[in-house]
């Protein structure tokens, strides 16, 4: 009964923290009657960039996933592992890397200049789409690869023994798979891009490249027009909820698929042309993903020396926020690790952090200076945003532990605390470590609500990188970004590792 009360408490807290801000936004917005031209423009741009981002991500992922599915080569496992990395990669770090490659003074521009071509500009719609493809091409590739590896080897054996032409193999095996997986992948990526904030903040902007999320931020920060922010939040909520529901229907239960590094024996694609096509796809994808990261490291190393006290202080803030939101997220996730709890938490993810932040801002304003609450609010919102992922990881394992040991524990009459300490936590060690690593890395790299609330004294590291970029201290920004990258990956590694070490029987 005690366990039930805790679960109920966790659910109520979750409901209060999502419904409360939402109610504040709804009350403040006071109806939908005042949609002006700027709001429509923001909405149009949001949907348009998300469509382009999802379209390019999925279309480009098809050849890459097919190549990975049917080729073996040295480094294949590492490349597939790398495809999971963008999930815990801080957006601002990737943006900095992309600017170093595709920006006005980037590698590509300079190469073009040598050939007498024009310099390219990364800011605007194409930059936003480029960054979204950088983050979501790996996701789409993983989803497709999962599908391809699930096709039984016997099908390809049959195709080989029938002597099907390459075109016939595509029509009978590959194309039906793409048609089955691609819509779900498209919908998921579309939804992610709808609510992406940090990319739009850094690479978008201006009347022609402002998303709804960015417009919310600008209304709060620069115009202090809370009514407009609330109205925009309402739009964002409606769009994201609609897209989220479609994505949920289309995608089915895709998780953090494991076993992607196995190889299904294939007999097709042995011709010279097929090898070239696959080789180009894999090389291009690896270059596209690795070069920006390489640039962050290359430019960041000299920048490390330029880091001032502000950056170190911001790093300290970020660490505290990340650890705090990890503890909060896990404390929330454990009692909610049931099917009902997971559905409940999924409803919370439809709220964009900016909408949630605006609501919290409206609630806190009468009582305290909201800017002074920047770090705690960031920690809570980060925990909330990571909760669905933590539950996706923990729920199946928690259910298995309950299924396997509930009866034994009942005959022994284990107390609730003994069950938690001696059975549940030790048995969940691995998934807990993984979930903690993801949450800590996500929180460490998050540039969302903190931008809404931050005052000059309370920056997190991602915000500090953004500020350094904004004041054109690119070297110092690169150094701080490298530190951020190291801290995010380091936190993930430590927690994940801690879950695996000495796991025993």
């Amino acid at each position: 009964m005690a366990a039930r009360a805790v679960a109920l408490g966790a659910a109520l807290l979750l409901a209060a923290l999502t419904a409360g801000p939402l109610a504040a936004v709804l009350l403040r917005a006071g109806g939908l009657g005042t949609l002006g031209a700027p709001e429509w423009a923001a909405l149009r741009f949001t949907v348009w960039q998300a469509l382009l981002s999802a379209g390019f991500s999925v279309a480009l992922a098809v050849p890459v996933a097919r190549a990975l599915a049917r080729r073996r080569f040295a480094g294949r496992g590492a490349l597939i592992a790398l495809l999971g990395a963008p999930f815990i990669l801080p957006v601002i770090v990737a943006v900095l890397g992309l600017i170093a490659v595709f920006g006005q003074n980037g590698v590509v521009s300079r190469a073009l200049a040598v050939l007498g071509g024009p310099r390219i500009d990364i800011y605007g719609l194409h930059g936003v789409v480029l960054a979204h493809v950088f983050f979501n091409l790996p996701l789409a590739t993983r989803l497709l690869l999962q599908g391809w590896l699930a096709i039984p080897a016997e099908r390809y054996r049959l195709a080989a023994s029938l002597g099907l032409s390459p075109w016939a193999v595509i029509r009978t095996l590959d194309w039906p798979l793409v048609r089955r997986i691609a819509p779900g992948a498209f919908a998921v990526i579309f939804t992610i891009c709808l609510t992406s904030f940090a990319v739009a903040l850094t690479l978008g902007g201006g009347p022609r490249a402002t998303t709804v999320e960015l417009a919310i931020y600008q209304s709060v920060r620069f115009e202090f027009d809370l009514g407009r922010a609330a109205l925009l939040s309402l739009i964002q909520l409606a769009v994201a909820l609609a897209a989220g529901l479609v994505a949920l229907r289309l995608s089915g239960g895709q998780g953090f698929g494991t076993g992607l590094d196995r190889v299904v024996p294939r007999w097709d694609g042995r011709s010279f042309g097929a090898r070239v096509v696959d080789g180009v796809a894999i090389t291009a994808a690896a270059l596209f993903l690795l070069t920006p990261l390489g640039m962050v490291v290359a430019r960041g190393l000299p920048g490390l020396a330029l880091m001032g006290a502000g950056t170190w202080e911001a790093a300290g803030h970020s660490l505290v926020v990340a650890l705090g939101s990890t503890a909060l997220c896990l404390a929330w996730a454990l009692p909610l690790a049931t099917k009902r709890g997971e559905l409940f938490a999924l409803a919370a993810i439809a709220l964009s952090p900016l909408v949630l932040g605006t609501g919290l801002f409206l609630i806190l304003r009468p009582f305290v200076n909201p800017f002074s609450m920047a770090l705690p609010v960031t920690g809570v919102v980060n925990a909330l945003m990571a909760l669905p992922f933590a539950l996706r990881i923990l729920r199946p394992e928690a259910e298995a532990v309950r299924r396997d040991y509930a009866r034994l524990s009942a005959t022994l009459g284990l107390t609730g605390l003994a069950w938690l300490q001696l059975v549940l936590l030790p048995r969940l060690r691995r998934p807990l470590g993984f979930a903690a690593g993801l949450t800590a890395a996500l929180s460490m790299g998050d540039l969302g609500v903190i931008a809404l609330f931050a005052d000059p004294d309370r920056a997190t590291l991602p915000l500090q990188v953004y500020r350094l970029m904004g004041s054109y201290q690119m070297e110092a920004a690169a150094g701080a970004a490298l530190l951020l990258l190291a801290l995010s990956l380091g936190l993930f590694w430590i927690f994940d590792r801690g879950g695996r070490a000495d796991a025993g029987a």
Binding site: A418, P426, A505
Partner: protein, 231 residues
Amino acid sequence: MLVLEGVRVVQGEFTLEADLSLAAGARVAVIGPSGAGKSTLLDVIAGFYAPQAGRVRWEGRDLTALAPQDRPVSMLFQDGNLFPHLSVARNLSLALRPDGGRLDAAQRRALERALARVGLQGMEDRRPGQLSGGQQARAALARVLLQDRPVMLLDEPFAALGPALKAEMLTLVGEVAESLGALVLMVSHEPQDARVFAGHCVLVAEGRAAPPVETGALFADPPPALKAYLG
């Protein structure tokens, strides 16, 4: 005396009725075709399944509304009798301290005695994964010994063991039950187990758990349901 009084279980098509009493300290085999409800009968006694009607009494006390841990019952399941991540000693100590606390000196000695009783002395610090199947069964039995409850329920815990090992375990169960003076109810698929181990048999078939019958007499003149089962 364990009494099942007008017990009735209904799960969709499946029904099970039981109206029987079992003497304290008796050894009873529960036999019958699979799916007839042998495990369900044990679940009702252990408190894992609440019957739609009827009562379960032990020595006159009504157990029907009690939670599993509050019943005078210990149970060995088909598998999962030990927590795999805890040492043998930690597993056994939970029988004495369900709150997970440390044992006092007397409890510690009791634990060592129980381990010695089942032939596992010196194995305190092993994890279940480091024991053989037979040793795991012994460790679980030592835990039952420490739980010291007057009713022992065995839901085929030795099904995965070979014939020789199983016979050995049945002998050990008999010794443990005798030292506790406990009533043993054992589900079995093997008529041979029942003949060797149990003085009485409860036949579960055709939606009914029959009152116990003396084992020799039952097999000498099997009722039609048992005949069909034995083939």
